[in-house]
Every structure is written in C-alpha cells, then in structure tokens.
Symmetry: C2
Subunit: 349 residues, 2 copies
C-alpha cells in the first residue's frame, strides 16, 4: 500500500508563455497550468526538499527575468514553458537533505506553483513562528534584508540626517523609513496615491510624504520637504526622480541604488542629466544586491524581531488569494496597484 | 630712504572681463591689465605674505568660476574686473606671517598676476627643491594629490585590477595611470590625439591607449580593450564616455568621479542612460574634491618623491611662456591643446 507521502496530488503552476522585452507585460503573457506531483522527493535525488508553497512574494526584479536577457546579469531569464520561480514561504513535505525535515518552515527560493522540489538554494529555516508567517515574504524576508542592508550597510546613516525614500510605501521602502526613524533621522517618502501618502505619515511614522504623481516639478517638491537638502536617498525608482534628487543632495550625501522600477518596462532608459553634482557634492552613489548581505540575516533578526514585538516596527501587506491571482498581483507592482508588500497566498498551512 | 623691499613695481594681471555661462569662452573674455604694487605687505596686514608668482597652473575647474554661479558650489565665481586666481608656485618676497619668511618657496592658491598679497590660504611650503619647481603645479601639487586621493582613497584599487582612465594624458590622468601600473594593475587610457596616445603607451607606461575621437562606438572600443570589463574607471570627462563605461563595468566596480570636462561648456548636460547597471553590477560611483584630502599630502610625497628620483614616475608638462599667454593656455584645456600638465611661466626666479 502506498505511503501517504507518496500520494500524487495536483500541482498548479504559473508559467511564462513568452518573453516580454519592452512594455508592461499582460496577464495573458503568463498562464496557469495544472500538472501533478508525487509528494515524495524522487528516488536518487540527494540533498533535496519537497516544499508545499504557502505564500509567494511578488518582486519587481522578476520583471527583468521576463525578458530574454542577452548579456548575463545577476539574475537569469525565466524559462518559457516552465513554472516561474521566486521568493516564497513553504513547508517541508519530504526531504533527503540532512538539514531539513518534514514540517520545517522555510523561506527563500521556490517555484510559482503549489509544490516544488528543490535542492535548497537560498533557503532559510524559519525559527521565529510567533509572528505572521506571511512576513517572511516581506519584513522578515528578502525585502526586509534589502531595506536593512541598503540603509545601514550602504548608506551608513547617522542620527539626525535627512533621508528621502521613493516607492516609500512598498515592501522595501516602508521599512527603510522606519529604520531611519528608529535611528533618529528625518524621513520623507514619496508614493503614487493619496492612500499611500496617508499610510506613510499616519501609520508608518514618516515625518512627511508626498504623491509624486501630483508634483509638476519634482525639484520644487524636494526643496519644499528638504530645505536643507538630502543626506541619504534610498533609490527605488530612477529616471526623473533621480535627476531631481541630484539637485538636492547635500555634501557627502549617499544614494543607495536599490532599484529603478520606473525603468523596467522602458525600451530605452530615461536620461539623467545632473550627474555633475556628484563631484562638487562628493556624492557616493552605490548599487547593491541583497543576496550579497545574507550573512547578516541573524543580525538583522536581532534588530527586527524585538522591534516588531515591542510595536516599534509595523508592516503593511497586500494579499492576493490563490495562485491564479499571482500574474495580476505581480504586474500590479508596475502600476502601483499594491499597497504595501504584495504577496500571494497559495495555502494557509 | 626707502628700503629695497618697499620698491614699487609693475604688476601685470589677468582679469575676467565678463561671465561666460555657456560655450567655450574666448581669450577676449579676459584681459591683461597693468597695475603696480609696493613690494611690502602693507602696514597693519597681519599674517599675510607677498608672493612673487613663478608658475601658474591652468585647471579645468576654473571654467566654472568664469560663470555667474547662482547656487553656491564648492568654488565661487571669479570677480569680474579683478585678477583671477588659482593654483601656482611662488616665492615669498615679504611676510607678516610667523610661518613664512622671505625666500620661502610655496605652492597653493595665488593670483593670476605677477605679485600677490594673500593671507595664506591653501599654501604649502615647498620642502623638496631638488626636483623641477614647475612640478608643484602638477605632479607635486594639486593635480598630483587629485590623482593620489582619487585613485588610492576613492577607488581602493587592488593589484591586478582593470583600470580605465579618460583624459589620460592630462595633469591628473597621466599620474593615475602610473600609480595603477606601480600597483600592478592593467591600465588603458584614452586621449584626443595620436600624439597623446603614443605618449601614453611609449612614455607613461599605459598597457594600451586609444584616441576616443576616432571611435565611432565607444562601447565597442572599451570592449576591445577590456574584454573582461573594467574594475576601476577614473572619470575625467563625463557624458557619452560615462554611458559607454557603465556598460562595461565589472561587478563591484568603482568609478571615481574626478571631473566631467566634456560638460563644462554645455548649456544643458548630456544625458546618461545606463545608470541601471549600477544596481546589478553593484557599482560604487563616488565624487571627490582634492582639498578634502590635503591632510594626506605628506604621505603622498613619501610615495612620489622617491618614485620620481628612482625614475619610476615621469611627468609631462606643457609650458606657456609669460602671463600674456595664460588666457589661451587656460582655454586650450577645453579643446585638448595641452599635452600634459598645462602651466604658465611668469618668472623663473
Ligand atoms: N537591490 C536589491 O537587492 C533589491 C531587492 C529588492 C527590491 N529591490 C528594488 O527595490 C524597489 C522596491 O521594491 P519593492 O519590492 O519594495 O516594491 P514595492 O515598492 O512594494 O512595489 C513597487 C512600487 O513601485 C512603485 N512604482 C511602480 N512604477 C513606478 C514608476 N514608474 N515610477 C515610480 N514608482 C513606481 C509603485 O508604487 P507607487 O504607487 O508609489 O508608484 C509600486 O507599488 C524596486 O526598484 C526593486 O527592484 C532591489
Ligand atoms: N575633483 C577634483 O578635486 C579635481 C581636481 C583636479 C582636476 N579635476 C578634474 O580632472 C579632470 C582632468 O583635469 P586635468 O587638470 O588633468 O586636465 P587635463 O587633462 O590636463 O586637461 C584637460 C583635458 O581634457 C580633455 N578634454 C577637453 N575637452 C574634452 C571633451 N569634450 N571630451 C573629452 N575630453 C576632453 C583634453 O584632452 P584630450 O585631448 O584627451 O581630449 C584636455 O587636454 C577634469 O575633469 C578636472 O575638472 C578634479
């Protein structure tokens, strides 16, 4: 008689149908496919785990993986016709890996499907389970580490400095702002709707916030909020915003270049004109990738878990229900549909 | 009877007639004026020195001082109708400053004139006189310190790295390349003429060099010289070159932004499109100003003086004779007329 863990079950998957190099992809560029899977790591598959995926994380960098990348980048293109993959939270159903056993909760790289067999790659075991598990797609996962590494390690902030965050209500931005407040900085964020702006000041503790879509003149807006200039810019959007920021940086200012979401669908990137200010203002502009900083994850948790429990940090999530909603949820990042961290619930246990 | 040091002498001066905000200034935007000066620090002028100027340094940053700057920068505008000023080498003729006495040789900030009375501002006493004194306008002066600080302190180079220098035959660039070779890097330079390119490879020890004016496609040129990519870019020119470099940087590459001479006469700066590469390649792009590093001058001399005497460092100068030639010499920087460090000889002793 077959053991229960050899049971064959349905495995719905999100598949990329074709590459989309330019423009906002459509939901129909992805499809939901049904396949099946045996709930056991196949014979001979050493050091592997079979995960039941609980939550999937929608992340902007996935957009570049939907392109047919000609030159190698720090990420590779998705395989068309195969399930997409990305960050998520899962539960170990079966394991041939000595470090993982059935029932373990993990976050890290997994497939956009109900079940995934993987040789653990960028998987972290979840130790703290007395917090919402969904947080491991955001606050306690990759975006949280991005905010932490980008702000503390790249920006090297000092108490009292003037900090500006774009895409400030998002998965990364909302946390950058809160870290900056915890340190004693003055923090202003920008976002793309009234609702998000209110969230920033009323719930997330930003000193001020503005809707960049309502500003004719970004330079003037920044001058209004930073009459003394900006010490630290946490760059999430690029393009015109970066150009305006360069005009408003202070001497020895730092720009952590986390991402440039306004550019991801463009055929040709928008021009930036004001780089000359980098010299006179001795600006340091530095790109970073979160995975270079994962060795700091334990240190990060030491800061965040207590702050969370003491109510010093809060986190806003935007939850889509069901794998079928994943394509729309992902694309919503590029129109600003998400309010807070966008995740997709596949299963609650 | 008047003492000899109270003698009144002619003092020729270079005066800016009017501000030139856009475009290449003309020689006629400056004029040579004759005035006279008493060879004595005036009664009541404490802590001042009277310098006889020997050599003046022509430096690209002076271009921005010929503009009426609206927003304060790290330099201020020249006063129209008054003598211009800048770096130079001089001899103390009279002094009311306890640290300076008649006959002392100095380099630092002085007037574009034959004699200057100044409260010592950015003046360095010349200790080593067994080297050409003109070198204190270049190799042993501000441009030398710029190359040193920009390369060692900002780029943080490692042996074996791939280094690219633009405006490579100039006052700063020729030294950056030599420092990189001393450290064991692979160094390529670009410059604007066949003569300069030959200088780079034949005399200055660059591994390779190219004439950027003869390249239709700067990206392709860089790929030819850096098939593995660039670790360090010492940025002197900006604009199109920076855009091409961004395509060719390696992971964790560094760009020391020393200057962007291709932009100084522009009305509107050229667009840069490829900043997105800063993220994936984790590029650090950092501006710097030499005067922030003058505390390292003694350490710099410890490296350079012995290297010079042992023939491990060489230096190319372009010498204009007489104060009258100063305006043309200065403007020549922006057409690439100078071959090596551009200086103006006012007097040999
Ligand atoms: N370097 C790394 O390792 C790393 C890791 C994670 C994330 N990132 C980057 O960090 C940034 C934020 O990511 P996230 O996960 O926190 O996403 P997010 O902010 O939760 O979601 C994306 C948000 O970007 C804004 N946006 C979309 N299109 C825009 C445009 N054209 N101009 C301005 N804003 C636009 C939208 O908010 P509005 O309504 O405010 O427009 C949208 O909600 C992205 O650039 C991402 O690529 C980098
Ligand atoms: N940050 C600081 O503290 C600091 C201090 C000193 C200098 N700097 C900067 O360092 C750079 C080099 O200064 P330097 O004193 O060594 O000058 P330099 O190289 O001796 O002279 C300027 C050279 O720039 C090149 N050039 C002129 N117009 C150009 C253009 N449109 N495109 C490309 N190249 C052009 C010319 O050489 P080609 O024939 O090769 O075109 C010219 O000979 C400048 O950007 C300057 O502002 C910065």
């Amino acid at each position: 008689m077959a053991e229960s863990n050899e049971q064959v079950v349905r495995n719905k998957q999100v598949v990329l149908k074709k590459y989309v190099n330019v423009g906002l992809p459509k939901e129909s560029d992805m499809e939901i496919r049904e396949s099946s899977i045996q709930l056991k790591v196949p014979e001979g598959c050493k050091d592997s785990v079979l995960l039941k995926n609980l939550y999937l994380s929608c992340d902007p960098y996935m957009r570049s993986r939907m392109k047919k990348l000609e030159t190698p980048s720090y990420v590779d293109s998705f395989q068309t016709g195969s399930p997409m993959n990305g960050y998520g939270v899962g539960k170990v159903v079966d394991s041939t890996h000595p470090d993982y056993k059935k029932g373990d909760l993990v976050w890290g790289f997994t497939g956009w499907e109900e079940y995934t067999i993987t040789a653990p790659f960028l998987l972290f075991k979840i130790e703290h389970t007395d917090v919402p598990l969904t947080y491991y797609t955001g606050l306690l996962g990759m975006p949280g580490m991005t905010a932490y590494a980008g702000f503390f390690e790249v920006c090297k902030p000092k108490k009292g400095e003037y900090v500006y965050v774009s895409a400030a209500s998002g998965a990364v931005g909302q946390l950058v702002g809160q870290f900056a407040k915890l340190l004693g900085c003055y923090v202003v964020g920008s976002a793309g709707s009234k609702e998000k702006v209110e969230l920033l000041t009323n719930k997330l503790g930003f000193d001020a916030a503005f809707n960049y879509k309502e500003e004719q003149d970004l330079d003037a807006a920044l001058k209004r909020y930073f009459p003394e200039g900006i010490d630290i810019y946490f760059e999430n959007v690029g393009g015109k915003m970066l150009d305006a920021v360069l005009l408003n940086m202070r001497i020895h200012g730092r720009i952590a270049v986390c991402g440039m979401i306004s550019q991801y669908n463009n055929e040709r990137p928008d021009p930036v004109h004001n780089l000359m200010y980098i010299v006179g203002k001795r600006i340091r502009m530095e790109g970073f990738i979160v995975s270079d900083f994962y060795h700091l994850y334990p240190k990060f948790l030491e800061l965040v878990i207590p702050s969370l429990k003491e109510g010093k940090i809060t986190y806003v999530e935007d939850t889509a229900e069901g794998l079928e909603s994943a394509p729309a949820a992902l694309l919503g990042l590029f129109t600003g549909r998400n309010v807070g961290k966008q995740l997709v619930v596949i299963s609650h246990d």
